[in-house]
């Protein structure tokens, strides 16, 4: 086979694979969502319970992504500037645990059967079966995303640049503001978007610990399950499409940021 033919074969194979894996199921979802017409679609989305679930999901996911963007970047910094194999292994644990188990463990820790949970309930700041639990679950399940996205970028940074800046009289803050931050911003932003997308899709852990009360602690993914089980597949598909559009819409913004970073180098 000539190199040209091989290239065409490879490309066709990849496209076919992506079509089977991604395009077909997603088209099915969108078609399903629009099966009863755009008016019905809109009706499903603006249903008060659905809307409240979407708002809660986006709000908690944005908060979790922001907290993890800061915390995860700090962890990545520590990993890059020192040798901590044990810490590095710990970072990946959330991806290895089934998220349903995460939810059950958090309930066991912060629920009323544990002393920690009893103390929190006594001071009227419950974590589980309340909104903070949703954010906590999201923080846990998405932690590796920020660390592993930011880490390679940080390890590329040359400490000599920082030394140079300091030699020129820059304060620690100025070094961070003018040398480090511009270099890492695109990676942190990309990690934020990935984390946000992962969090709005989270189901298992949140279903176990949030309480799932409509308008209060019911997130979009659990709402979708309820609609599916009740036989309202169209409504479930409509809300899924909203989640999909939002995560997809943010992805190009993140890629643009990352490209800008490489354009500078």
């Amino acid at each position: 086979m000539s190199p040209r033919k091989a290239r065409i074969a490879l490309r066709t194979g990849v496209v076919a694979w992506m079509v089977i894996l991604v395009v077909v199921p997603i088209s099915g979802l969108v078609l399903r969502a629009l099966a009863s017409g755009p008016a019905a679609f809109w009706g499903y989305v603006v249903d008060p319970v659905a809307l409240a679930a979407l708002r809660l999901t986006f709000g908690t996911a944005a908060l979790a992504a922001t907290i993890n963007a800061v915390g995860g970047t700090l962890i990545a910094w520590v990993l890059v500037r020192g040798k901590h194999p044990a810490l590095s292994a710990l970072v990946d644990i959330p991806f290895a645990v089934p998220t349903l188990v995460t939810g059950v463990v958090l309930v066991a820790l912060f629920g009323p059967q544990a002393w920690l949970g009893q103390v929190l309930i006594a001071v009227d700041t419950p974590i589980v079966f309340a909104r903070p639990g949703i954010v906590l679950a999201m923080l846990f399940i998405s932690l590796p995303l920020v660390v592993r996205t930011v880490e390679p970028v940080l390890s590329e940074l040359d400490p000599a640049e920082e030394d140079a800046a300091e030699t020129l009289g820059a304060s620690r803050w100025q070094v961070f503001r003018h040398v480090l931050w511009p270099a890492m911003l695109p990676a942190v932003a990309a990690a934020w978007v990935q984390t946000f997308a992962r969090c709005i899709a989270e189901f298992g852990s949140i279903a176990a610990l949030s309480g799932n009360i409509p308008r209060e602690t019911l997130v979009a993914s659990v709402y979708i399950l309820g609609e599916l089980e009740a036989g309202h597949a169209d409504a479930a598909a409509a809300i899924s499409v909203v989640l999909l559009v939002l995560s997809l819409g943010l992805q190009p913004a993140a890629s643009a940021l990352v490209e800008r970073r490489y354009a500078r180098v």
Partner: protein, 363 residues
């Protein structure tokens, strides 16, 4: 073929309720994975030998899992061996009733279904899988009865006596999500029916009063789990002051030494759980006789006795396995208009339940 059969099973496994009492989640996972492997290989065997007359697939809701596995299925296997000389295997799948009905409707080829409420079986009738005559028998296809009760902490420290107490603002209540749980629908039917019958401090036959009572109770709900079993497990773990649940769930918890008591409200609904042969699948598997014998076995006195030992009220009134506390006003779903009317007036989108939920929890 093997793959085609395994796919719906994988789906089912993904939905199966892992948080089974006394089983740690990790073990449940491993159990689930091994179970799927076994089931899919067994369905492979079945398609190979063609006759398929040696395995029966039971798709059930989660509540009767223990009594089925420990008593009723072993008894059926041995009586079938005595009468026909063949040793059979029964494959069991348990998950929330509504999800189970949907799985079977979408191609999970069970020979027999045991579900928590009649409308779930009727979905299979609509799908052309179960015969329309399935509930013509004397018990109308019902194999167990129970009551919707209020589970409380030992000694009933919050002095919860009746539905109206669940609306008190010092009480936290657990009840599952009606969208996913058949049990939750029974709970709502109990409150609605008690109000409509004028037994909950409300005017008789006044839907507005029933909606108001339901709204005030839903306002006190702290956790809405996916299924009845998860809900009672959370209650046992210390969440909430009261859980609306089945009488038999509390009895099983008590048998396992868990500190939980229950109160029978002044008026409550009798839970009728049905079983049926899935004729379409059974015929294609060549298991019709076995499936029919199994469903008949569920109503036999020995099985009814076993159900009673696990806290269900027997359908056969002559079976006396345990004393159940007396209840004042017990009604059936037919007494309050039947499932069809309830579906339309209470459970449909934006109907009474949705309105009560919105009213109880204003934004």
């Amino acid at each position: 073929m093997r793959f085609v059969l395994a796919l719906p099973l994988l789906r089912v496994a993904a939905m199966v309720d892992f948080r089974v009492r006394s089983q740690p989640p990790i073990a449940a996972w491993i159990f689930g994975i091994v179970g799927v492997a076994l089931l899919s290989s067994a369905s492979g065997c079945r398609s190979k030998d063609g006759s398929g007359a040696s395995t029966l697939v039971l798709a059930a809701y989660t509540t009767p899992r223990e009594v089925m596995g420990n008593a009723i299925i072993p008894a059926f296997v041995s009586s079938w061996r005595e009468s026909t000389g063949t040793t059979i295997a029964v494959q069991e799948s348990y998950q929330a009733s509504g999800a189970q009905a949907r799985a079977v409707a979408e191609g999970f080829e069970a020979d027999v279904v045991a579900l928590s409420l009649t409308p779930d079986v009727n979905r299979l009738v609509d799908a052309g899988l179960v015969r329309e005559t399935w509930d013509d028998g004397k018990d109308r296809g019902v194999i167990t009865q129970s009551l919707v009760v209020i589970a409380v902490r030992p000694g009933n420290p919050r002095n919860i006596r009746d539905w109206a107490d669940l609306a008190r603002d010092d009480i936290e209540v657990l009840t599952p999500n009606v969208r996913t749980s058949g049990g939750a629908m029974w709970n709502v039917a109990a409150i609605y029916g008690a109000a409509m019958r004028g037994h909950a401090g409300t005017a008789k036959d006044d839907p507005a009063a029933a909606e108001a009572l339901l709204a005030s109770i839903l306002a006190r709900v702290k956790v809405m789990d996916k299924g009845a079993r998860e809900s009672i497990v959370n209650f046992e773990n210390g969440v909430g002051d009261a859980a609306i649940t089945y009488e038999n769930e509390v009895i099983v918890a008590q048998q396992q030494g868990r500190p939980v008591e229950y109160v029978i409200p002044s008026s409550t609904v009798r839970i009728d759980a049905p079983a049926a042969v899935v004729h379409r699948y059974a015929e294609s598997h060549g298991t019709t006789a076995m499936a029919e014998a199994f469903v008949a076995h569920l109503s036999a006195p020995d099985s009814q006795k076993a159900f009673a030992e696990y806290g269900f009220r027997p359908v056969d009134p002559t079976v006396k396995a345990r004393e159940f506390p007396p209840a004042r006003d017990v009604f059936t779903v037919d007494d309050i208009g039947g499932w069809k009317k309830l579906q339309e007036e209470v459970f449909a989108a934006r109907a009474l339940y949705d309105r009560a939920l919105a009213k109880g929890r204003p934004e």
